[in-house]
């Protein structure tokens, strides 16, 4: 149940005093409450859980994690070849 999905903020507005954004997940766009991520702006990716953005996706960290896994893949290929 604790699933959160990354989506991109397309635009923001105020509804009943709360900051709400239109967030795009692949081909689907839904509104998400942005009160818990005051630092997130249009164009940022946020993790959305039950209609609430709970964190701003750290794009640099995401790239770094992926890169480290990819480098490990390359190393693996080389080690595999050496054996």
């Amino acid at each position: 149940m604790c699933l959160a999905i990354p989506g991109k903020i397309l635009d923001t507005e105020e509804i009943a005093g709360i900051r709400v954004g239109r967030v795009q997940f692949g081909g689907v766009t839904r509104k998400a409450y942005l009160d818990y991520v005051p630092e997130a702006v249009v164009g940022d990716y946020v993790m959305v859980h039950v209609g609430f953005a709970l964190s701003k996706v750290d794009q640099d960290e995401a790239a770094r994690t992926y890169e480290s896994m990819r480098v490990m893949g390359l190393l693996e290929a080389e080690l595999g070849g050496a054996e």
Binding site: C2, V37, M47, M69
Partner: protein, 401 residues
């Protein structure tokens, strides 16, 4: 989708598995705490890819499964009232109470609605001022800030027809309970990434320090989980017990301060009963005194109704997304489950593991194998095996079936 698809790359998954295989030298028992992580492990068959040394035990982190029977009964009772619109996350509707579940209430004419977000329930309360809207607030720390926001907003708007049936549970007390069991087998934990998105991971540092077990905060995609398992195995092999963060793209050590602030404005920590486990002290949230107006009236007055039978009262239950918390606890402690279906589940799992390790398909029941009825349905024996048993003229067994 960005930040999802790249973490499902099969080639990288193989690399990670190979790396785990290369580094593991001894058997290790790991637990993924969150039901969402269990779901990914099962869906992508990750548990089958791992070397036999790495055993994954599924944790009690599914709020749907651990919501106690009494709470479901309360929900059923409230939802049956004619003046109530009962709003819930879809997962909760199938959970059996002692007599009925919420789907049956809906079928019998009760106004039970499924919501995507707690704010949908607030919206319903705004649009239906003449009816009471009750929202079933279940979940771990991840779901608590959204639910807290719903109550906070209702109070701000002066909505008097909105209330919250709260059954919130917390992760660290359950882990502490497990770690304090003398027969605990779990040696390392994958901490729940989205809970830590809100709470940060300093709570787990205390647990790691005190019980000398490593934690890795893990994400929910296959590569996230494999990477978390790799990091855990590395810590265990090196004899370290630290808290590491694999899910850096969402989790920071301090978590989400704004969300926690709103959450503690509305909720306070309280004792909670967990279905299949029992009461765990200080393991959940309840509404603060200032928000007492937002408790549904039945909550404070009604006593839980006596269950119809002992069987239904003791009925353990598990949603399709994850494994039963009680079984999880049994397997974490190395205890033998006592109910018939749990024993079957246990045996089937052991058999699957043997099959993967040895490459030979075996059946735990020689008479089934003899008749080539090794494959049995999920819920027990196949019809053919049943027939074989009756034909074998074993009166004691026949009476049982």
């Amino acid at each position: 989708m960005k930040f999802l698809d790249e973490y499902r790359d099969p080639k990288l998954a193989q690399t990670l598995v190979a790396d785990i295989r290369r580094h593991v030298t001894r058997p290790w028992v790991l637990m993924e705490i969150c039901g969402g992580q269990t779901h990914t492990l099962m869906r992508y068959g990750i548990d089958n890819l791992l070397p036999p040394e790495v055993e994954l035990v599924h944790g009690p982190g599914c709020p749907v499964c651990v919501t106690p029977l009494e709470m479901i009964d309360k929900a059923v009772e409230i939802a049956s009232r004619p003046d109530v619109i009962f709003v819930s996350y879809g997962d909760m509707l199938r959970v059996p109470g002692s007599a009925r579940d919420l789907f049956q209430v809906k079928a019998a004419g009760g106004d039970v609605r499924i919501a995507y977000s707690p704010m949908d329930a607030v919206d319903l309360a705004r649009k239906n001022p003449d009816r009471k809207v009750v929202f079933f607030a279940v979940g771990f720390e991840t779901t608590a800030p959204p639910n807290a926001m719903a109550v906070w907003q209702a109070k701000r708007e002066g909505l008097t027809n909105f209330s919250l049936l709260v059954s919130h549970v917390l992760v660290p007390p359950a882990i502490r309970l497990l770690l304090e069991q003398p027969r605990n087998r779990v040696q390392g934990f994958i901490a729940p990434g989205h809970v830590c998105t809100v709470m940060g991971y300093s709570e787990y540092e205390e647990l790691a320090e005190r019980y000398h077990v490593p934690f890795v905060v893990g994400g929910f995609e296959p590569l996230d989980l494999l990477e978390a398992i790799r990091m855990l195995v590395a810590q265990l092999e090196e004899g370290r017990f630290e808290v590491e963060n694999q899910y850096v793209r969402s989790v920071t050590r301090v978590g989400n301060e704004a969300a926690r602030q709103r959450m503690f404005e509305v909720f306070e920590i309280a004792d909670r009963k967990w279905r299949g486990i029992g009461e765990i002290g200080q393991s959940g949230y309840r509404l603060r005194e200032e928000y007492a107006d937002f408790m549904p009236s039945a909550c404070s007055t009604s006593r839980p109704r006596a269950p119809r039978s002992r069987r239904s009262a003791s009925r353990r239950w598990s949603c399709r997304a994850c494994k039963n918390p009680w079984i999880a606890l049994c397997s974490a402690l190395g205890a033998r489950p006592t109910t018939r279906w749990a024993r079957r589940w246990y045996r089937a799992r052991a058999r699957a593991r043997r099959t993967i390790a040895t490459g030979v398909t075996t059946s735990s029941r020689p008479h089934c194998r003899r008749l080539n009825h090794g494959h049995r349905t999920q819920y027990g024996m196949s019809l053919a095996a049943h027939l074989h048993r009756s034909r074998a003229a074993r009166p004691r067994l026949r009476r049982q079936t």
